[in-house]
């Protein structure tokens, strides 16, 4: 396209900056590989830029962007080097379809997740933080904490399960409120 107005350029950069994580997460969910995600993300970004003239600003940006990402994920899958683990094409298509249909819920889940994280006891939140902020695997972290890896896995699993429950409950309550309104 011809990005012949600065307004278009600004609009694109603003939307892209706001939603790049959606695109990246979506790609990873289809490719399950960081390097492949990188490459597909770059290709998606360039495709979005080139095709931005066709974007209908009245429509939400994310579904439009994810459609390009899906194509790039499939291309990336085809390019995958021998020996790389890839999901089969049919599964990628299904995951992509289902994910695209869940966009609104995904946003709600993220907001709920942040609230639920705040509700975690300090010790659990600290453990989660260490797990996700450090460079070690769970096994290495367990060694540091003087904990048995299996036990640490279990602890993290319980925290994740509690978070998942909390999120689902929050969404259910929201749904009830909306239904009653």
């Amino acid at each position: 396209m011809d990005h012949d107005t600065p307004h278009q350029t600004e609009t694109f950069l603003r939307l892209f900056a706001k939603h790049e994580q959606d695109v990246r997460r979506f790609l990873f969910s289809l490719l399950l590989d960081r390097e492949a995600t990188d490459e597909a993300f770059q290709n998606t970004s360039v495709a979005l830029w080139r095709k931005f003239g066709e974007y209908d600003a009245a429509q939400p940006f994310v579904p439009w962007a994810l459609a390009f990402a899906r194509l790039e994920a499939l291309k990336q899958r085809d390019r995958a080097r021998r020996g790389r683990l890839v999901l089969n094409e049919g599964l990628i298509e299904r995951l992509a379809d289902e994910r695209a249909a869940e966009q609104d819920e995904t946003e709600s889940r993220r907001r709920a997740m942040r609230d639920c994280l705040d509700k975690l006891p300090d010790t659990q939140r600290q453990l989660v933080r260490r797990r996700y902020a450090t460079t070690e695997t769970v096994a290495a972290l367990a060694e540091q904490l003087g904990e048995r890896p299996k036990r640490l896995y279990k602890q993290l699993e319980r925290i994740r399960a509690a978070l998942m429950d909390c999120v689902n409950q929050a969404l259910a309550e929201t749904s009830d409120v909306e239904g009653a309104a």
Partner: protein, 491 residues
């Protein structure tokens, strides 16, 4: 609302979660990957749980996040969302860099198109409508807020002659002449030409390559003219000006006069200029004046991961705190990084804890590694001094990236003391704590500490746990610029 867990039997959910953990840890085998695929193909609920698990993983990673070192010439500290967890073990920064790279690709496209005339707006990126050919490009921003709220896409934008008002944060511009200028907000600057600007208020740091010699910063009363250097200029609201030369040579002369009245400044010299009289007087060097205020401090609240890029050229004087010990609320814990010695040749081998990429969590001295003698080095002391915490234990997670290769990390008490005879500086206060030069604790102890030197050989990741009023300290030995010297293990 869909509760996926309720739809998956417990065993399937546990199996799926285990498989997902292996995926994000990048430890999954071919067989397990095939099992994951089969499971996902077999059940809508499994796929749903899979997507929710990944979303949760990313949210947790964002919450826990780390920090990216941003790049501004003096020193950098910029908290931001860590994307390491995307796809697993955060040890790789590929995605983070890819994100930045892609954004730069996009920004680059904008620049290219602008240069080709495809984008015809000549509006100044700071919202100032200016004419004339571009004099600079904005190449980096750290939390930059411009006075003009309409500024949306400052990164990669061309800057034309006119006024730039930076409310807060930092912005790096590369002049057409190739001089690299960092504005530290709040700053008010007039871009006058491809190699000249006027600083009305605020601070700038300039790095000027040979090609751009003659780069000039006008202050309210004087001109600061580069002769191949790296320097900072600070102009207060009242017009008081100071100039700090970190490297090379500048001349400073009253505005509109000839070189006959110029003052010549060399590296390490700092002057203040009285706005009323124009008198010039020497002042004490103050390198961290030129660290962006919102990033200064490095006073890292204990539970906040933090990141800092150390540019050894920015602070030449031993004892100069590179990261000023200003506490950040709510904690009054802080980490400081102090340059101890610069260009010291090791007269004898030095015992060290870590001399190549890897992680250390043992600090006994029975089998130390060694940095060989004869190597010229620079050394820093990193100290984590937490506030008293009645709960007893305070953690620090931090990332520090150095501008030259790390040759060694010295973390054991005895090694710290021994190396201090060669690398310690009388200008560094080692008596901050009654325990003196106290190193790190072994993982078996109550407060395990770990130090990781990343594969790039320049980035340290620190995790310190400190009890009450203790301190944790390490000495980091890095190569001198232009002397990419390696160390021999066990030499």
């Amino acid at each position: 609302m869909s509760d996926t867990r309720a739809q998956l039997d417990e065993a399937t959910r546990a199996e799926l979660e285990a498989l997902m953990a292996e995926v994000v840890d990048e430890s999954i085998t071919d067989e397990r990957f095939a099992a994951l695929q089969t499971l996902l193909e077999s059940s809508d609920a499994a796929r749903r749980y899979y997507r929710q698990y990944l979303d949760m993983h990313f949210e947790l990673a964002d919450e826990a996040n780390a920090i990216e070192a941003e790049t501004i010439p003096v020193a950098r500290l910029a908290p931001s969302t860590d994307r390491r967890a995307l796809g697993g073990r955060p040890r790789s920064n590929v995605l983070r860099y890819a994100t930045a790279a892609v954004f730069l690709i996009v920004a680059g496209l904008v620049v290219v198109l602008m240069q080709r005339g495809a984008v015809t707006d000549h509006r100044d990126p700071a919202g100032v409508a200016n004419d004339g050919p571009p004099v600079a490009t904005i190449t980096d921003v750290v939390d930059a807020k411009w006075v003009d709220a309409d500024t949306l896409t400052d990164l990669g934008s061309s800057v034309r002659p006119g006024r730039l008002q930076l409310q807060s944060g930092a912005a790096e511009l590369v002049m057409e002449s190739t001089a690299r200028v960092t504005l530290l907000g709040p700053a008010d600057v007039q871009m006058l030409g491809p190699n000249r600007c006027r600083l009305t208020h605020g601070r700038i740091v300039a790095v000027v390559p040979t090609k751009a010699h003659g780069f000039t910063v006008e202050t309210p009363t004087h001109e600061v003219i580069d002769l191949g250097t790296r320097f900072g200029v600070d102009v207060t609201d009242m017009g008081e000006t100071r100039v700090d030369v970190f490297e090379g040579h500048v001349k400073v002369r009253p505005y509109g006069t000839s070189d006959a009245s110029a003052v010549s400044l060399t590296a390490g010299r700092s002057i203040a200029i009285d706005s009323a009289t124009g008198n010039v007087s020497d002042v004490t060097a103050d390198a961290h004046r030129f660290v962006a205020p919102q990033h200064a401090g490095m006073g890292v609240a204990s539970s906040e991961p933090a990141s800092l890029m150390i540019d050894g050229r920015a602070a030449r004087d031993a004892g100069t705190p590179i990261a000023a010990p200003q506490p950040l609320p709510p904690s009054d814990s802080f980490m400081t990084i102090v340059l101890e010695s610069d260009g010291v040749a090791l007269r004898k081998p030095i015992a060290a804890t870590l001399i190549k990429p890897g992680t250390s969590d043992r600090y006994d001295t029975t089998r130390p590694l060694r940095v060989r003698s004869g190597v010229k080095v620079r050394s820093y002391l990193i100290r984590f001094d937490p506030a008293h915490d009645p709960r007893g234990l305070t953690f620090l997670d931090a990332t520090v990236r150095f501008d030259t290769p790390v040759l060694a990390v010295i973390a054991a008490d005895a090694e710290l003391k021994a190396s201090g005879t060669l690398l310690g500086s009388p200008r560094v206060d080692y008596t901050t704590h009654p325990d003196g030069l106290e190193g790190l604790s072994d993982s078996q102890k109550e407060t395990p500490d770990t130090v990781t030197l990343e594969r790039d050989g320049r980035t340290l990741r620190l995790h310190f746990g400190v009890v009450n009023d203790k301190v944790d300290q390490i000495r980091v030995i890095v190569a001198m610029p232009d002397a990419e010297t390696d160390a021999d293990p066990g030499n």
